[in-house]
Subunit: 223 residues, 4 copies
DNA sequence: CATGAATGAGACTTCATTCAT
DNA sequence: CATGAATGAAGTCTCATTCAT
């Protein structure tokens, strides 16, 4: 019997939940396995059906558990989606890290490295990135998440650009922030357009070279 | 504006449309007015609530008609949304047309003109563009529409770039298609990021200059 | 697709609802008939199954309409229950009105009249009164309603007692408020106990005489 | 308090209870302690959340045991509620016992004593009494329990009244049963109304005096 | 005895669309 | 053409109870 409206206060004032509802790690290994199975199943279902059309039952059936079990581990569709996406984003960030030796090398190579890494990581997870893009359009919390990701990349670019400008190796007339925004847009939306909207339209090398050229020449990079 | 008494003959003699279900223009002026009211109401409601949360009743109530009346003019929610968006896109395209004198002028100015025009038009309709972005993520037909829009812009850019390359005024090493894709991404996603995701983050001039600089320098434009 | 949590604001800020959700009278006679049918069905179902076990479908099936139709007329189970109970309570109040000629007669007869009227009305609607009693134990709004009903009766008793005390015809040592509370308790809970908890345990005359005697003698009524 | 080491022999030699499922006392002292903890926790949770909203997990968490453990001691939610309420009712009955000296004194004082005792006991346990009232409205067994309690009090009153009538000290015209019903209603529902529905509306003395006066005068008690 | 994960039935509600008037 | 009432499929989430360890 559902009487949510009659005692809503507890949702807010409730002390620590009795269980794993907030995504804590389960106590037993059996629990951990079940949680993993649910996450894997969710990735499959979200990618296949999109955020809106993904049903909890589809996830539980795919994971081979009863539908009630879902709620032992995640309080909602949004929660498991966030967990799935967080995984992916972590890998995206990890992939985007430029190794020390490259970082110490020429700026152009650094930019090319980062661009290629982003393209590859995006391409590997294009399915779920598309779904994040979708979900972000109507879910405020997921939109916030998506903005956070974008900001990370933009800030890194902005910082790098300021550095080059200080060294006199990039056009000092460019607004670092606005330029970083534009370049982030270029790369991320190029990925979205060519990997999500269309199916794999460009060769990796062609794309990397084009983007790198536009980027380095655009900021007036001098060797 | 056409008053009911102006052209009654036509209302009678016009060949009865097979059906209004596809959004044809209604035969009577009263009908035309109702259709307009619905379109206006839909623009308001879609922009306010998003595609998913927009309810047909909200549209009809806003338009001041009964909910049944809706289906006299549009066969579905998707249909009226398409009609609304088509209007907006038409204006976006119209705004993006570069006047003859500018077209005959220097390439840099042409690019700046087009960029500024796009930015302004986007900013004017940012609300609905955001909703189109949303709807395109889950509705195949609307996704197709969105791709069509993108292709138009990209193709124009590609054509322009080929032209410059042929004249020896842009880097011939760049793939015209891939470059056009990247530049289209840069401008369109810059708009999306700064006008939809964030609230108006940049001055128009700063944005136009930054984008134009990146663009022209990126393609290696020579005077 | 349910996404209640993602746009909860509208529940509060929404302007006038597009329809009859707040229980307004339907515009057409067909609508009025349907609303009546739902109310009648609800009375039957609530009485038969109790508030908790009453299902919306049972009501709609009993009324011979689809389940969606329910929500054209009532926003929730609570709403239709309130409507049903309001009807019953109105009749209870109406029955409790003491006609002018009796009111001008001897106090003892007045009290007996009111007691008998209450008993009869309660007995007639015992089923639904029991359900109100139930619902009031866990639904704040319905509890408020129940208290309102009780207050009405208690206040009437209090007023009458003050009057008698002023006339020197009732014990002036009694607190009118507290006494009215006790007497209201006696009569109302006698009805609850003998008509709801047990099945019809007393003859009407026996009950009326006992209650009237306790009441009149209790307050020290002098002719 | 029994420590585990104190009586191990008995723990072993005691005839194994067929089952603990019906709330029998556990064989080990550790078990007894767990059972107590569950009962205490249940009292807290039931009083705080009501019967319907009380969750077994909340009880076990409050008691500091796992949810499975619950079923080692009680077969169901209803069972532990019954156990909790039985405790309370026992104390209510205990409090309602009129000591010998008072019993031998004047009838008016006896009635006053019993009334005051009831009021105090009820007030002390008002929270759980309210929940019993709630649970009784939808659970047949708990309703039976509630009726049993009521009958005890009513029967005692009835017996007392018969006694007074036989002694010629109370109105012989009153039906003892029906009168007892009415007086029980008056006192018990006065408590419910003033202690549960409203918050502590009357001073104890005022309430006791009012109720006692109505009671004694109502039955025509002569010294 | 204790643990905590697993179960699964089932009611509510929404809203695009249809249809009788 | 307009009205507004009627439709009905379908997915989420709860929680008492069971069971494997």
């Amino acid at each position: 019997m559902t009487r949510a409206s009659e005692a809503p206060a507890r949702e807010v004032s409730a002390p620590a939940p009795a269980s794993l509802l907030d995504g804590d790690v389960p106590a037993t290994s059996r629990g951990r396995r079940t949680r993993e199975r649910l996450l894997d199943a969710a990735a499959v279902v979200f990618e296949r059906d999109g955020y809106l059309d993904a049903k909890i039952v589809d996830i539980t059936v795919t994971a081979g558990v009863s539908s009630g079990t879902f709620y032992t581990y995640f309080p909602s569709k949004e929660a498991i989606f966030t967990a799935v996406i967080t995984d992916v984003v972590d890998r995206l960030f990890a992939a985007a890290v430029v190794p020390a030796d490259v970082r110490r090398g020429p700026a152009a190579e650094r930019i090319e490295y980062a661009t290629r890494a982003y393209l590859r990581a995006y391409s590997e997870h294009a399915g779920l990135m598309a779904i994040l893009e979708q979900a972000a359009t109507f879910n405020p919390r997921l939109r916030e998440m998506r903005r956070g990701i974008r900001h990370s990349f933009r800030n890194r670019t902005e910082k790098g650009l300021r550095h080059l400008q200080e060294q006199g190796r990039a056009d000092p007339a460019l607004s670092p922030r606005c330029t970083a925004e534009a370049l982030t847009s270029m790369v991320s939306n190029f990925c979205y357009a060519s990997l999500v909207l269309e199916a794999d339209s460009y060769q990796e090398d062609e794309a990397v070279q084009t983007l790198t050229t536009l980027w380095t020449r655009g900021i007036g990079l001098s060797a």
